[in-house]
């Protein structure tokens, strides 16, 4: 070991209940770690056309060169797998403490293969893997499961688990890890398909560094930047530090871009009651942080439950304030918090389930569905919480909705696909493509479906660029996608990049691992990963026709004050998509040209129809 990566991973065969150490091959090391490792390993090892819920799928859980070090805001770990929700390659992230613990196990990650016949908990102590029966925790929620593991097997385990939704292979089920979540893409369902209820890590190894002195200097410099940002009253990260991620609700509302009532409106008259400031001022609140992070943007609040009790619960984060709040016409902060808590109990992505519920409520309003014993109405707590439980249990109409909004629309029919607010079956994140054209392009072209992590949200919502313009958006989106992919090889927190000069990333890589990489090469690595993901998706059967937003975005103006009756022009949209493909070196159908793949050094992955 010459740096912060251990150059070894554990392969865990869930079918046989065995594990082996896998030494990282030389050709993987230039992919740095995190998303880079995950994307290449999955591309090399599975057929993209497989059923994501079959035992042929693999789960690649990785850390990066800065995980477990003193570098601020590098707590996250990354999972790459084939998504049962979108049918695409998936990368999903969670912060908290499990990433550092994986590193302390003396490994760069684990690869889960096959599928168990019985439900299991995986215990990873350094590089030793034990399969134990999951019988004691079956049916439990995520927090309950992880608490059981800590209380019965060791408080020093760092844990991840699925809830009942994962057990029932709900396609939008998430994987939870203590106070954080691998939210998008249905990882909980993949774990469920492998009958892995939980995993727990406990390590005794340290973390080496290639250049301790330089790393210490960089860390101090970076920490000062982060702390200075937190100290500034109006700084974005400073706002997150003081109010959590819901701090900016006022701006998006005033810009008429707060998706409301299944994205029919761009404003919500109760937006203030579900904002970060409101929770901070009206609920007993504590901040929570991830490993080594001075921002502590997470929140837990004490709130009233629907049955009259009181409980502590994490969040809601900003995206959930939209998905389980404005999108459902839910302006009650207690009901929102209760819905958010139920997503943790069941183990479900709060974004996609909110979008799916809002879709269902509109279907009911149009007479397309009904459910015995449950009113289906916007703004009705019983409807919201009831549907959430039914999806988590795959019960009644919930069994159809558990498939995700696009698949559910196919079953429900009646033109409902037009208002299922998703891309590739993944629910929209909290931003309106009709109000933010570049963000819409990022949703549509995302390799994992309706993703906001690589969208030009800040530039558009703050008015740095005209959010309704199509000009320059293709360039902006491509750049964002490539940069963020590069940064996700280090698994930096998405907020880290908001304040850190990009030049620090190659410097950190060199000081941590000894690998020399220029900033341009770092960006190119991001582009390489983006193209490899795209090739995976093409081979999985997804083409240009899947890089599209639902019809509502092209034929129904946004209602509400400040929303300017915005609607996308379909033809202009298609021109912009073609412009984006051209910038990427792809043909009209989104297929990367051989020359582009040669330039990126990945020609062996070429896709030919």
């Amino acid at each position: 070991m010459a740096g912060s990566m251990y150059d070894r991973m554990i392969r865990i065969n869930c079918t046989s209940g065995t594990s082996t150490i896998w030494n990282v091959p030389e050709d993987l090391k230039p992919w740095i770690g995190g998303m880079g490792y995950g994307t290449k390993i999955l591309s090399d090892e599975i057929n993209p056309a497989i059923d994501a819920l079959s035992s042929d799928n693999k789960v690649v859980l990785t850390v990066g060169p800065l995980t477990g070090t003193t570098a601020p805001m590098h707590a996250q770990s990354c999972i790459v797998t084939k998504s049962p929700l979108t049918g695409t390659i998936l990368n999903s992230y969670a912060g908290g403490f499990v990433g550092a613990e994986i590193k302390y196990c003396g490994i760069d990650g684990v690869i889960l293969e096959g599928a168990s016949e019985e439900w299991k908990i995986l215990l990873i102590d350094d590089d030793k893997v034990t399969f134990m029966s999951a019988d004691p925790v079956m049916g439990m929620g995520t927090e309950e499961t992880e608490t059981w593991i800590k209380e019965n097997l060791g408080q020093d385990y760092k844990t991840m688990s699925i809830g009942r939704a994962g057990e029932k292979v709900v396609r939008m089920a998430a994987l939870f890890s203590e106070t954080r979540t691998f939210g998008r893409g249905g990882l909980g369902a993949v774990f469920g398909s492998k009958k892995i209820k939980a995993a727990a890590f406990r390590g005794t190894c340290g973390t080496d560094l290639a250049d301790v002195e330089e790393f210490t200097r960089l860390t101090a410099e970076n920490m000062k930047i982060v702390k200075d940002s937190c100290d500034q009253e109006y700084n974005l990260v400073g706002m997150f530090s003081r109010y959590g991620t819901g701090a900016g609700m006022g701006l998006i509302q005033s810009r008429g871009a707060l998706a409301t009532r299944n994205s029919q409106y761009g404003t919500f008259d109760k937006s203030n009651e579900i904002s970060g400031q409101y929770y901070e001022e009206n609920f007993y609140t504590r901040s929570i942080s991830c490993h080594g992070c001075p921002v502590h943007c997470g929140r837990i609040h004490k709130f009233s439950t629907n049955d009259g009790g009181k409980t502590w619960a994490r969040g809601p984060e900003y995206e959930t304030m939209y998905s389980l709040g404005s999108q459902l016409m839910n302006g009650d902060p207690d009901v929102l918090a209760e819905a958010n808590r139920l997503t943790e109990v069941y183990g479900i992505d709060s974004l996609t389930i909110g979008v799916t519920i809002s879709f269902a409520l509109e279907c009911a309003e149009k007479g397309l569905i009904e459910e015995d014993g449950l009113k289906l109405e916007f703004g009705n707590p019983e409807s919201i919480l009831g549907l959430l439980k039914k999806i988590g249990e795959r019960e009644g109409i919930g069994d159809i909705l558990a498939e995700g909004p696009e698949r559910a629309a196919e079953k429900i029919g009646g033109g409902s696909g037009d208002f299922a607010m998703q891309v590739k079956n993944s629910g929209f994140a909290a931003w309106m493509p009709r109000r933010m054209v570049g963000t819409g392009l990022a949703f549509a072209t995302s390799n994992r479906g309706a993703c906001h992590k690589r969208a030009p949200i800040g530039a558009e919502i703050t008015g740095q660029v005209d959010m309704l313009s199509y000009e320059g958006k293709a360039v902006m989106v491509k750049k964002n996608q490539d940069v963020v992919n590069a940064i996700f090889t280090l698994i930096s927190c998405r907020f880290h990049e908001f304040m850190t000069p990009h030049e620090m990333y190659p410097a950190f890589i060199k000081a941590a691992t000894g690998i020399e990489i220029s900033l341009d090469e770092f960006y190119t690595l991001g582009e390489r990963i983006w193209n490899l993901e795209k090739l995976f998706n093409l081979k999985a059967g997804l083409g240009r026709e899947h890089d599209i937003l639902p019809a509502r975005c092209y034929n129904e103006p946004v209602k509400g004050e400040g929303s300017e009756s915005s609607v996308l022009d379909y033809d202009r949209w298609q021109e912009m998509l073609t412009e984006y493909y051209t910038l990427r070196g792809w043909d009209y159908n989104g297929i990367p040209a051989r020359e582009k793949l040669v330039e990126l050094g990945i020609e062996e992955y070429i896709y030919e129809r």
């Binding site: 009253e233 974005l236 991620t245 701006l251 008015g463």
Partner: protein, 96 residues
């Protein structure tokens, strides 16, 4: 000339008001001028958003367009009469 600052999000909490209204003697007042008046009036709320003549990082100023959309104002020297005598103050925004 009557001019208005509309407070959004965090600013509404900080100032404790939805809008600040000020009457100028003439119509040459700028965005900076009304912010200065608001800073004076809201001193007890520690409302300070100008530094060295410019806006503090993270403070966003918009004006409402005729169709009710909003457009960012980058310079505090902008005359208020050019933007309907009204501005909107907001803070930076992200997601999570």
């Amino acid at each position: 000339m009557k001019a208005v600052i509309e407070f959004v999000g965090y600013f509404r909490t900080k100032t404790g008001m939805e809008r600040f209204i000020y009457d100028f003697d003439d119509d040459s007042a700028t965005v900076r001028d009304i912010i200065i008046e608001a800073e004076k009036a809201l001193r007890d709320r520690e409302f300070v958003i100008l530094r060295d003549g410019g806006l503090i990082d993270g403070v966003l100023v918009f004006h409402r367009k005729a169709n009710d959309g909003m457009e960012r104002i980058f310079t505090p020297d902008t005359p208020l009469r050019e933007i309907g005598n009204s501005i909107v103050l907001a803070n930076l925004m992200g997601g999570g």
